[in-house]
């Protein structure tokens, strides 16, 4: 009988967790500082998940984008044990389309997803604080034909004053898979919790019919905190603005509508 020391850990399929992070000029100063620390504590939390995950080998890959895009791990996703966060610097434009093109080229068994075992559908987490400066929709249409992308557990973070929340919702496929917050502290916490919930859910076998949606991961992540979902999940286009049907004759609509007379200029 082989000695217990001669038996390795049980075989586990890989689970790739991708981060696609906006490091454009608008992220300068405090936001990039918060992002760096948030990623550091997220990596730390994922290390703990990975160390005790008997169903998956968790690996991480980070793509930053500004005027160009760059993989922090150019040789492909790394095991959490081997991964240490290095701070990113913010500068340049917000080339979202270029990032999607790059991601598409690597989401394949012959590129970043090659491994000794099979792999679970990946987790992909996007973060931006602004608007794309290129034609991202064309690239989105292309990458949606890649099953590893379209069936992935996708979550988006829209942070800062003026992010393109609708774009993020399109990238992740649903507004319920988006977290919208101006509070950088809330962002940092939720990045960690949602990363943990997404990788725990996606890295367990699921013999049911549907993939794990980003919305499920967001809900599970929020469930680990005391943050009210209503405060961070944006409402996008759920109510179409409609012109009320009113009688067009002057003076005739007065009975149906009232206006605040006391309101100040």
């Amino acid at each position: 009988m082989p000695h217990m020391d001669d038996l390795g850990a049980m075989m586990r399929p890989d689970l790739h967790v991708f981060y696609v992070l906006d490091t454009s000029g608008s992220m300068q100063n405090k936001p990039i500082g918060v992002l760096n620390r948030a990623m550091e504590s997220t990596v730390d939390a994922l290390k703990q998940v990975a160390a005790h995950h008997s169903d998956a080998n968790v690996k991480i890959a980070v793509l930053e984008f500004n005027s160009t895009c760059r993989w922090i791990n150019p040789n492909g996703p790394e095991y959490l044990d081997d991964f240490f966060w290095s701070d990113l610097v913010a500068a340049g434009k917000t080339e979202v389309g270029a990032a999607l093109r790059e991601l598409d080229s690597k989401l394949s068994r012959s590129a970043f997803l090659n491994s000794m075992t099979s792999a679970f559908l990946p987790v992909i987490i996007f973060m931006t604080d602004g608007f794309a400066t290129d034609d991202y929709e064309r690239e989105l249409q292309k990458i949606m034909r890649n099953r590893w992308f379209s069936k992935a557990t996708r979550v988006g973070f829209a942070i800062g004053r003026n992010p393109d929340t609708e774009m993020i919702a399109k990238l992740v496929g649903s507004s319920e898979a988006v977290i919208r917050t101006e509070d950088l502290g809330v962002f940092a916490r939720l990045l960690r919790f949602v990363s943990v919930s997404a990788s725990t859910l996606a890295g367990n076998s699921h013999t049911r019919d549907a993939e794990i949606s980003g919305a499920e991961a967001v809900r599970a992540g929020l469930n680990m905190t005391d943050i009210d979902p209503g405060e961070v999940i944006p409402v996008i286009n759920t109510v179409d603005f409609q012109t009320p049907q009113i009688d067009a004759r002057p003076g005739s609509a007065d009975k149906a509508f009232t206006w605040d007379d006391q309101r100040e200029w």
């Binding site: 000695h3 217990m4 075989m11 008997s54 099979s118 076998s205 013999t207 005391d226 009210d228």
Partner: protein
């Protein structure tokens, strides 16, 4: 909103006991576990997150029933009391996990936490015996997996937790189990878990503990590419194939992950046989063809006493006490024992730490199957001089020729070749192993 409790928070239980939260111990998907002071005693509280229930009231009713019926054996971290507060949050009180226990799935990642293979067998025996008792009381566990019990790798003792899932067999609580451990019929038809589906999960668990590999995850799994839900449904439900199936060779273990390839050829024939039976196409497709808990216990108690240490330290399995060559490549010594015990049906090496259990001496009830009867011990002065200790609660006899000597509980007598142990209705002959 937040489900958590603050340290120092004070609550009152159903049995009108005062509890105080001491600190958080763990955090899971269903809820948080706290260390508490329960009426002066240190205990644990599992506190549920809101909205994790299929049918909240049914769940609470079932939990209350489990509390009222009491734990099946000491191997269960059973709910003993519950707390319900305004706003709908609730939880249950149970014993704390004692020192030295680790989650079973940690052992899949670090099999060498077991100091010896024998302890891994002990753990299997204890877990299957606990489920034997649970099932015999009419319950079904529904969610047997590596995440639901703790093991003390140094003693082989187990503690089964998450007993809030336990329900009378046939009741639908909405639970379908943990993927990888779920029986094919649940994967395919989403049927209600049963004692028979628990048995599939137990068999998976034992294969994982003893071979450190999943029984259905061979090359069809490693070469699948993307493990999307459709592929997983195929591997675990629609077309499951045992990696050691003698007839279907399309799902052999991937040589890159050789744990099962290393262990399987060393296993005694009877252990290979029960695994082949448990994961045969017949048993995978027909729940009532799966080995029962008693079937497993009988093979495991036999297996545990077939493990003998070679002088090189390697553990060698001596089926029917037959001597064999040590299978550590650098050793090659001949390993055998001077004595063997002839039980009905098979023989065991008779050496230090050989154990004979109640279920090896005739028909018995589920709850006494692993009651110890005989324990073989090497003397302190000379390791080759053995004694047999009565580790049961009643006297039994040893005889040689016509004379019978009664051995009282806790008494130890010296072993003499050709003596007989008289246990219940069985006579076990101690023979020289030439």
């Amino acid at each position: 909103m937040g489900a958590g409790l603050e340290a120092g928070a004070s609550l009152r239980t159903k049995f009108n006991k005062e509890i105080r939260v001491v600190k958080q111990l763990g955090d899971g998907s269903q809820g948080i576990v706290y260390a508490i002071d329960y009426d002066g005693r240190p205990m644990a509280l599992k506190w549920y997150r809101p909205n994790v229930f299929y049918d909240r009231q049914k769940f609470i009713d079932n939990l209350r029933n489990n509390i009222m019926s009491g734990k099946p054996t000491d191997d269960f971290l059973w709910p003993v009391d519950m707390v319900e507060v305004m706003g709908g949050s609730f939880g249950y009180v149970m014993d704390l996990r004692p020192e030295g226990f680790v989650e079973a799935r940690e052992l899949f990642l670090h099999p060498n936490l077991f100091p010896s293979y024998r302890r891994a067998i002990d753990a299997c025996m204890n877990v299957v015996s606990a489920f034997n008792v649970l099932h015999s009381k009419g319950y079904c566990y529904q969610d047997v997996s590596g995440g639901n019990f703790f093991v003390n790798p140094h003693s082989g003792q187990v503690l089964i937790c998450d007993n809030d899932n336990v329900a009378p067999a046939g009741i639908d609580t909405g639970i379908r189990g943990t993927p990888r451990f779920m029986a094919p019929e649940i994967v395919v038809e989403n049927s209600v878990p049963s004692v028979q589906s628990d048995r599939h999960s137990l068999a998976v668990l034992m294969f994982m503990m003893l071979c450190v590999q999943h029984p259905l995850e061979g090359v069809r799994f490693t070469k699948a590419g993307s493990l999307d839900p459709t592929m997983q449904k195929r591997l675990y439900g629609i077309e499951p194939v045992f990696i050691m199936d003698p007839d279907i060779t399309t799902n052999r273990p991937d040589p890159a992950f050789p744990n099962a390839l290393k262990v399987w050829p060393c296993l005694p024939e009877h252990m290979r046989r029960i695994f082949l039976r448990a994961f045969s196409q017949n048993a995978l497709k027909n729940p009532n063809r799966r080995p029962s808990e008693m079937d497993w216990i009988r093979e495991l108690v036999r297996f545990r006493s077939e493990v003998v240490n070679c002088v090189c330290g390697n553990e060698v399995f001596l089926e029917n006490a037959r001597p064999r060559t040590c299978d550590k490549p650098s050793c090659g010594r001949r390993v055998g024992t001077a004595l063997r015990a002839d039980l009905p049906g098979y023989s065991l090496p008779f050496v230090d730490d050989t154990r004979i259990y109640r279920c090896q001496t005739g028909v018995c009830d589920a709850n006494v199957a692993l009651e110890p009867l005989v324990w073989v011990l090497a003397s302190r002065e000379r390791p080759d001089v053995l004694g047999v200790r009565n580790v049961s609660r009643a006297p039994w006899g040893v005889s040689q020729g016509a004379s019978i000597h009664m051995v009282a509980p806790r008494q130890t007598v010296m072993v003499i070749p050709d003596m007989e142990l008289r246990l219940n209705e069985e006579r076990i002959h101690i023979s020289r192993n030439v």
